[in-house]
């Protein structure tokens, strides 16, 4: 049992963009605002339950806030706690703000003879879980690596070198006043609104398009889960699949915050060592009652 959980932790650590990871999310305190001094506070975490911080805080280094005029802003009053990070966003302009955490690039992980020996020793004498990501340390890792990094920074005696490439986007939206168009990014897996993400109501259908590098993707599977999972027995996930135009529709059964996730892979890697490019998308959408 113990060994299985350690193994799972190693896999989870090694494949950060995989769908088997815990749920990542950004949750805004409100999504429909008015007035000259509109603010929201945003929770950012990685958890099992939605939306209860119970695992890890989200790192805020890569949070990008895009204002209606396209300008980008940093989070205000950021703080990271044990289970959750928080930050504020001032909605100074009229229109829709996109708040996103975008991770990606090329990363590499490897073992060394020393790390394998240490892992072997730990197996015989398991240490108590240290919290955080857990798992047995690997020989080393590189984040946001370039082709040159891969050639020069990985030690010659490295074993089991894994090079992965990916782009993961976690985002949410909030609008001050009238909703404005959300400009596509054009890179990675992203959701392009057909129905505006801050114009969602219980009992109504919403349509979205999923694109990779700006091109619609057919056959993508989407999982949607309403928040408040702690207070019900089932996840009650809603499944959807994109059609030939890359579009899917969902009719929201109830009001609430909804977590939407999808992921895919392709072969458009920037370095030959990475066999595939992992692409993931998570969005939080607020659905209001009628």
């Amino acid at each position: 049992m113990k060994r299985i959980s350690i193994l799972a932790a190693i896999i989870a650590a090694a494949i950060p963009l995989s769908a088997i990871a815990h749920k990542q999310w950004l949750v805004p305190s409100s999504t429909v605002l008015a007035g000259k001094d509109a603010w929201i506070t945003v929770d950012a975490a990685i958890s099992n339950a939605l939306y209860y911080p119970d695992h890890n805080p989200m790192r805020l280094d890569n949070i990008v806030i895009t204002a209606p005029d396209g300008s980008t802003h940093k989070p205000q009053n950021p703080a990271t706690g044990k289970y959750r990070s928080v930050f504020d966003v001032q909605l100074e302009q009229q229109g829709t703000y996109r708040i996103a955490n975008v991770n990606g690039g090329v990363s590499a992980r490897w073992d060394t003879p020393e790390s394998l020996a240490a892992a072997e020793a730990a197996k015989d004498n398991p240490a108590p879980a240290a919290g955080g990501m857990g798992g047995t340390p690997r020989g080393g890792m590189l984040r946001n690596a370039t082709a040159e990094d891969l050639a020069t920074k990985i030690p010659k005696n490295a074993l089991n070198v894994q090079v992965t490439e990916g782009i993961g986007r976690v985002e949410t939206f909030a609008t001050n006043g009238s909703p404005s168009d959300v400009a596509p990014i054009g890179k990675g897996l992203e959701l392009v609104p057909v129905t505006h993400p801050n114009d969602l109501f219980a009992g109504e259908a919403a349509t979205f398009r999923l694109v990779v590098d700006g091109k619609p993707v057919a056959g993508l599977e989407i999982e949607i889960i309403r928040g408040g999972t702690r207070y019900r027995n089932a996840q009650e996930e809603i499944k959807a699949t994109t059609d030939a135009k890359g579009e899917f529709s969902v009719t929201w059964p109830d009001a609430g915050m909804y977590w939407l996730e999808t992921a895919t892979t392709d072969s458009k890697t920037s370095v030959p060592q990475a066999r595939q490019r992992r692409l993931s998308y998570v969005g939080t959408f607020e659905v209001l009652p009628q």
Partner: protein, 176 residues
């Protein structure tokens, strides 16, 4: 252009009954704000508007909200709590609007009478519409009532709706 919001509803209807048929069309509305026993009571925000057959807002008649700065910021901050009105009209409306936006009102019946020259009604073609009244109260509830009516129909159009929580009796009389 102002809306008269003072006469009790009975007088408005009484006027209607004796008015000569040749007079201009008008719309008389009464909205009751009920007395609510609450430890912390705030007057509700209320929006009154007209929707067409496709449930699109075609005319804002009244929006009552706190128009000053309070301890918790300017009153416009809470306008989205009138969430159907906000979606259909409010979020694209630059408040205040003369003759439409007004301060919140106390418990009681509030009557308004709009003639066909009122900016909200001047361009409204004859047809079937719905009067919508939405009320939202700080640390309280929200309620929305609808009354269908005929504008410039062959006969006077009369309707009413009884609220349960945040609204009392709402009546409407549209004179052709």
């Amino acid at each position: 252009m102002r809306v008269s919001v003072s006469a009790p509803v009975s007088i408005a209807i009484g006027t209607l009954l004796v008015a000569p048929a040749a007079q201009a069309a008008d719309l008389s509305i009464s909205v009751e704000i009920p007395r609510i026993n609450a430890a912390e009571y705030h007057r509700p925000y209320v929006a009154i508007w007209i929707e067409d057959a496709n449930q699109k807002s075609v005319a804002d008649l009244q929006v009552w909200y706190q128009q000053t700065d309070g301890k918790e910021g300017h009153g416009t901050k809470w306008l989205p709590d009138l969430r159907q009105w906000w979606r259909k009209s409010g979020r694209s409306l630059k408040v205040p609007v003369d003759g439409i936006t007004a301060p919140t009102r106390p418990v009681g019946k509030h009557a308004l009478k709009l003639d066909e020259k009122h900016p909200a009604l001047a361009k409204l073609p004859a047809g079937t519409y719905t009067l919508v009244v939405e009320a939202a109260r700080e640390v309280g509830g929200r309620e929305l009532l609808k009354i269908p009516f005929e504008w410039k129909g062959k006969t006077p159009s009369i309707g009413k709706a009884q609220g349960k929580d945040e609204l009392g009796l709402v009546t409407l009389s549209a004179k052709p």
